[in-house]
Each structure stands twice: as C-alpha cells, then as structure tokens.
Symmetry: C2
Subunit: 191 residues, 2 copies
C-alpha cells in the first residue's frame, strides 16, 4: 500500500519550446483532449493547478474559449464534474509566468521537474520524488507536447524524473497517458 | 520494485453495451484518440491485442480506415512507432467474437475482467490481479466508453477490478487515462 502525503504539486503542459520529429524547436498546437484528459487526471490526484503554456495569441484564445465553455458556459450545466476539472486550468505565455504565479501564491518558487521518454543522466526515481513531494513545498511538473520538451527546457529544470517504462524499449505514450501514469505513481493509492 | 511476470493480457474497448449519463444502455461513437492512446499504452505494456468493439457498420468502417492509414498507409511511413501500436487493433462486432478469437489462439477462453469508476462488491485489488496474471493464462480487460459498461456486461465478467482512486472521491478519468493507469498498475515496473 502506497500512501500519499500532503503535496503541493502543479503541472504544466508546454507548447513552446518543444521539439518536432526532426529535433527542431517549435511551437505546437493546443489539442482539445489534452486539456480535458490532463485536467481530469489533475483533479483526480489533487493537483493544485494545471497550466497550459503557449505564447500564441490565437491558441491562448482557443484554449480560453474551451475552458470557458466547460467552466461557466453550457458545459458546466451539462457536466459539472468536467467543470470541476477544467477550472484547474490557467493559460500562460511562458514558464516564467507560471513559476511567478506559484511563487506569489506560496511565498516560495516551485522546484521544477521535467520528464522525458528517453533515459536522462541523473534522473530520480518515482519513490524518491514521491517522498520529496511529501514535504509540501511547491513543485511544478512539466510535460512537453509534440516530440517533447526542448533541450533548453530540460537543462533548466531542478529535477529530472525517470522515464515511464513499460515492459520493453517502446516509449511512445501520449502526453495524456504519460501524465495519468506519472500522477498515479507520484500521488496514487492502491493495493 | 514491482516486477512484471509473463502475462497474456488483451484489452477491449466497448462501444456497446454502455450507459449514457442517465443510465440508459446505448451504443457510443468511436473516438479517434481512444484508439491511438490505448494502442500506444497497450504496446508499452506488452498487451497482446487491443479489440475495438462496436456493432455499427459505419463505425467499424471508420475505425478500420483509421487503423489502415497508420498500419499500411501514409501514417506508417510518417511514424513507424504509431504503426507498431495501432497494429495491435482488431475491430469486432461484440464481446463474444473477442473471446472466441482469444480462445482460438490460446486453446482456452480468457478470464474477463471489468473495471468501473464506482466501487463494486467483491472487487479484487491490483496486486492480486497482477499476481494472477503472472500465470500466463489468457485474460481480457474490458473498458467501457461513455458513462461505462452496462450492468449486463459488468455482471457477466469473471473478475471485477478495484476502481482507480486518486486522493478523494472524484472519479471521472477519461477511458484513455484510466487504461494507462490500470496497465501501469498491472504490468509496469518502477522504483
């Protein structure tokens, strides 16, 4: 039995800077179901806030419209449980805005944690991070869209988390699935 | 450290019979990203086959077109890793066809396992099912779309698995996220 301690964890979905298939740094498009699925996982595991990060005005407007429908529009009446999840979403231009938000709310900058499908030198285990999160200090877990977080984003993080491994070398989970699994490993309780 | 034993697990995504928000038994529509995400999770965790179950001819044709694009069409060249995942997909009319398929391949009918977001009497723990799967006998894990598997489908199953619980009563994960978490709990390895 794994027991969850009090945590102060937020998550962020990064649309820039991320890499494409060829390793170029790009800005990816916001995907409707990323927001729904990740918000529902965040709500399930007691995550404090879910930041959607993109510098593009049209993409911010699209994300805001989607969130508004489910949080205060017709969607909120149709499905209040979806409202409860999507109200965790905050849309921000960049990572600096996110960490500043968390610092303002907590009086302390969050430790940033990155994940990658590929093994990284110095990565920490799920058990070690889970224990660390139990101290209640603010922490921010970053997820990359497209082919993952850009190298500059990986190297600027405080902590690198072990990749999610299945039973072989295949490591191509969707960001929606990876988020669900990682939150369960860090915050879930089961026998 | 959780260590995976040899497993012989398949999964099925059921579009009929499932319930809607009001508890009526309905046939749900096939969702593109369910097939992608669940196929990628299945491939990650060594699942033998991913059955997409719907009785509707137009929905079967849609699913087949999608799979074909990624398994033998342009998608296979663009992203071979996606091909590797989606080739696990088999489209069937109903659950009887699925269990017959598995029986034909294994000389033994699979034990069927259902999941539900709500607690069910007599449900088994993840640890207990994981141990049972280690015997290598064929097993089939069913996931419901919409508001979940119809009562007739739940009561016909051999095994009911504990719900995925987060840190509170909120239990509204997407089927994509629930599949990822459940496969990780049953088949994943991590420290």
């Amino acid at each position: 039995m794994k027991v969850s301690s009090a945590q102060n964890l937020s998550i962020a979905l990064i649309h820039y800077p991320v890499t494409n298939k060829n390793g170029d740094v790009i800005t990816s498009a916001v995907t409707n179901l990323d927001l729904h699925d990740m918000a529902r996982s965040a709500r399930t595991y007691g995550v404090k806030a879910f930041y959607v990060v993109t510098p593009l005005e049209d993409q911010k407007a699209l994300a805001a419209k989607l969130v508004d429908h489910w949080v205060s529009g017709g969607g909120a009446r149709y499905n209040p449980k979806r409202c409860e999840a999507l109200q965790l979403i905050h849309i921000r231009d960049n990572l600096e805005q996110v960490t500043a938000d968390i610092e303002q709310a907590n009086g302390q900058r969050p430790q940033t944690i990155v994940t990658c499908a590929r093994p990284q030198r110095g990565s920490v285990s799920y058990g070690a991070l889970r224990e660390k999160l139990g101290d209640g200090a603010p922490a921010l877990l970053l997820f990359g869209t497209a082919w993952g977080l850009a190298p500059e984003c990986m190297s600027a993080a405080d902590i690198i988390l072990d990749p999610v491994r299945g039973i072989g070398p295949y490591n191509h989970l969707s960001v929606r699935s990876a988020t669900a699994i990682i939150l369960d490993r860090l915050c879930g309780e089961f026998n």
